[in-house]
Symmetry: D2
Subunit: 138 residues, 4 copies
């Protein structure tokens, strides 16, 4: 558990007033918690830019009726076992599936796997959630 | 299954050459497939902008040792059952958890739930993957 | 001139250490200044989301040799005089021009003008810089 | 002037219908023009990722009454003359200025200058428009 440190910040009164209003709407109860989150978001952005170890989620939408598609996507995931933690499969309707792959590894490897999955013929849409292993934002 | 239509596109020769090189590197085998993906990405962006029904994934990282945090996050998810499909929980290390919530619903409701989860005290990082139910990008 | 207020923030020691390292690299000399910027960026994002009065820059790249293109782009700008402050024209090479339009107005009007300019046939690339009138981030 | 090439694309009928509707709203008159723009946007993204020569605009908002600020910003720009083409200065109100710097150079140098300008104490908001010299998207 990390030690809490307290330090002072100088801010224009008007700016602080607007910030308080904004974080109130967002559901924060203290300024420290809101600032902590702004800081963490910056640090996680850096983790990805500097190709450190990261965690995240790769999503993709596809029609499982398409011939061989499911097996091709599964094979591709097996080839990258070392960065895949687990996969969640959601049946959106009779045709469409949403698959969400939880990943942990070097940022560039995760990005590569996302590109590979998203460019498979038949995959209709893909996203990559750039999150963190939590180690450097504790 | 949607009918395939074939139509002609006019493009500057140089531009086409560069595009072919790019999509080759990305792993696409045909131009049609690469263009299809560019088009779909545009359409999904619109779905979110126009507050239509969407699907996606909300991620967040937290330390499960923090008092009451797990139960607060679970309660919050129960309050939004109608848009949550399932949740995947990953143990990143002794402290850190990555939770990935598969969601389907109105874009604004999904956004609201993401904000609510991300602003809970103790949640260290959050992302929202803006994907699609697949219906309008078939 | 806004009054400066000083308040205390509690932060995990490790997190603070990483933040200090990051902002050092970015060239900030005090934490207050770095936090002020993170806060302002959040507020400006809100200004655009809530369709308030904003300022910004619309850029587009085009080949001025293309028949009628220059006059079409100029006409379009004249039709939106009320939100255009001034336009900077850069000759990138014998063919390519970069035009940068300084704008101030309702976020949705600025977005609309950007879309209109970017979709003119012959315009090769366009961006929209979402900045602020400065009034609400003082 | 680049030679126009015509090639065929296969697309699901429903998807094409939705695309036509979307680009109609955006103001495009032909599919080729809309696809050309989608392709160019991808190529320009790559130019920045691969640190090629790019063009763009750096914006920043500041209060010119702040002591020494204007001269510090001017000095900084002079130190990077080789990538700055010209600067547009807009008086937003009695206090606030919007400065828009047209730039051309290596992507990493442009990014660096943007960071430097944005982290000067007193600069309230900054953006970086990632555009192109137009050479590789002709």
């Amino acid at each position: 558990m990390s030690v809490l440190v307290r330090f002072g910040v100088s801010l224009e009164q008007d700016l602080l007033g607007r910030f308080d209003k904004l974080i109130g709407k967002q559901g924060y109860t203290t300024r420290s918690e809101a600032l902590r989150d702004l800081i963490r978001r910056q640090l996680v952005k850096k983790e990805w830019e500097e190709d450190q170890e990261v965690a995240g989620a790769i999503t993709f939408v596809y029609d499982h009726h398409q011939r061989n598609l499911t097996s091709r996507l599964t094979n591709l995931q097996h080839d990258h076992q070392e960065i895949i933690i687990s996969t969640q499969h959601v049946h959106l309707d009779h045709h469409n599936c949403l698959e969400i792959v939880a990943v942990k590894g070097k940022a560039s490897s995760v990005q590569q796997l996302a590109n590979a999955l998203h460019s498979v013929k038949g995959v209709r849409h893909g996203t990559l959630s750039m999150s963190s292993t939590g180690k450097s934002i504790g």
